[in-house]
């Protein structure tokens, strides 16, 4: 049975244990759950917050497409992706990827795949709000993130 991806774009934080419980639910054949939490870093104390802009509609659609691609490639019993938008302060969660499977390898690989693609394909943009009250610059895309996609070709 192919699981339906669970995808959410929201301003509020999430509780990881609750998200896992929701994902695994009544399925007692899951042996492995991998989670990735992406957190806001404080950039050596200069950062007051990140402001995350997104493309409503496409964000959810793209996250669903990525999750469906992972479900096609690996034997998975569940995928959840949550991405927050709005103002996010250092130490807070930005993104969550959850994968559930019978065995661990599929769960690890699918979570890593999803994060690589979330970084480069999900329509979100980060802008820095600095401690000194200035609106800082838009965060540049990392070349390493584009390179990361190549290993999944």
């Amino acid at each position: 049975m192919t699981p339906a991806p669970r995808v959410k774009v929201q301003t509020e934080d999430f509780d990881l244990q609750k998200e896992i419980d929701d994902l695994t639910g009544a399925n007692s054949n899951i042996g492995a759950v991998v989670s990735f939490c992406g957190l806001c870093r404080d950039e050596q104390g200069t950062l007051d917050a990140l402001e995350l802009e997104h493309y409503p509609g496409m964000a959810e659609a793209e996250m669903t497409r990525l999750a469906e691609e992972a479900i096609k490639r690996w034997s998975l019993d569940g995928v959840s992706i949550i991405h927050r938008h709005g103002k996010i302060t250092p130490g807070d969660n930005i993104v969550l990827v959850l994968t559930a499977s019978v065995h661990r390898q599929a769960a690890f690989e699918a979570a890593s795949f999803l994060m690589d693609f979330m970084k480069s394909k999900a329509p979100f943009w980060k802008r820095e709000l600095l401690k000194d009250g200035q609106i800082g610059s838009w965060v540049d895309a990392r070349e390493a993130d584009d390179d990361a996609l190549e290993r999944w070709q």
């Binding site: 992406g38 995350l52 802009e53 997104h54 493309y55 509609g57 496409m58 659609a61 793209e62 991405h83 930005i94 993104v95 994060m115 979330m118 970084k119 480069s120 394909k121 999900a122 329509p123 979100f124 943009w125 980060k126 802008r127 838009w138 965060v139 540049d140 895309a141 993130d145």
Partner: protein
Amino acid sequence: MVKLVYFAWVRERIGKSDEEIELPGDVRTVGDLLTHLKTRGEGYELALAVPRAIHVAIDQQHCQHSDPIGNASEIALFPPMTGG
């Protein structure tokens, strides 16, 4: 008429988040659209100065600059994404 939507610094430089425009008949591909938009003023020129830095989605799906616009109803222009 097609709806254009802009995000992040593309939005800031163009100075609006969306607009509806009529496309000239010779605008067939995404690349043609970028070239056309640059004629619409300084903000557009600044936003689209480096075309390969501009990502485009047609009806909420990523596309290439060489892709035809077809009968798109919404075309989005934005910088490289930095979510995750």
